[in-house]
Subunit: 171 residues, 2 copies
């Protein structure tokens, strides 16, 4: 499939079947995240993978952004101090966020290609999540990706057309 | 090509040949950006495309992050007020940044598939860029993507392996 087609096919899928995602597929998703570009080559994120129902239930309880029933949660955690040491305030406050988002998009696109549903989630209690995950002091959970085989595929929200988005094209 | 392979093939390409990028390819890149997911469905970015040498030269002069010779600059501009109105402080300060980064990654991946080199650039004087681009009051340039046919393809920087990146895997 052409990539643009795949990009258009990606939906935010929140409701999943009970089918487990195979371990080799999860590893492929992690690899997709690892190969995301990193501003200033900070590479400041680590990953937590949750598959146990009880762990996911606890995270869901502090995450208004999780509406459905994730079979797996990939949690992108960033080391803001490492980012600051490598790239100053912009590194800490901007590049870490960009890196996490790009890694998450790689995950979601590769998931789509494998027939796995995915959804990025940013609306959660970060302090509570840090505690529940028992993260090392330096790490903050920045972005979740929920995963599972889709129970149904939602319709895409309406998108703007090129002429609306491109405000100046100087050629 | 499998997507993971394409993800690994993407490099930050900064030096380009003089060949022009075809307009239909540029439109495809904009479409890839449009189909990026948007946190809280803010869709708060607009795009400026620069192809004139003189315009690019002026932007380069205030952008330490541009090392090479972009043939085209796609400039992702965000409307922080619109984002705040739709999704509060997190929308303004986090989701706009994530959205721009995800859109840029879509652009870079589709560019790679088409044989076009690309590089994300965040290191530039945002106030000066806003002035040079004569952007509407509500828009701030958030992220650049430089584009062109690659003069050469750099080696990938070393990446971590799965076991280093995944700090907990609870299954």
């Amino acid at each position: 499939m052409e990539l643009l087609e795949l990009i258009k096919k990606r939906r935010s899928v929140r409701y999943y079947t009970d089918a487990e995602i195979e371990e080799d597929k999860l590893k492929k998703l992690v690899e997709a995240a690892i190969w995301a570009p990193s501003g200033h080559r900070i590479y400041a994120f680590d990953i937590v993978i949750l598959q146990r129902k009880e762990d996911i239930r606890r995270i869901k309880a502090i995450s208004p952004g999780i509406h459905g029933n994730p079979q797996v949660l990939i949690i992108l955690c960033v080391d803001r101090q490492k980012a600051f040491d490598k790239a100053g305030e912009d590194g800490r406050d901007v590049l870490t966020i960009m890196d996490a988002a790009i890694a998450a998009q790689n995950i979601c696109l590769v998931a789509t290609e494998m027939g796995v549903g995915s959804c990025m989630i940013r609306h959660f209690d970060r302090v509570a999540a840090k505690g529940l995950l028992d993260l090392p002091e330096n790490l903050i959970p920045e972005l979740f990706v929920s995963l599972g085989y889709p129970r149904s595929i939602p319709e895409p929200p309406p998108r703007r057309v090129i002429e609306e988005v491109v405000i100046f094209w100087k050629r």
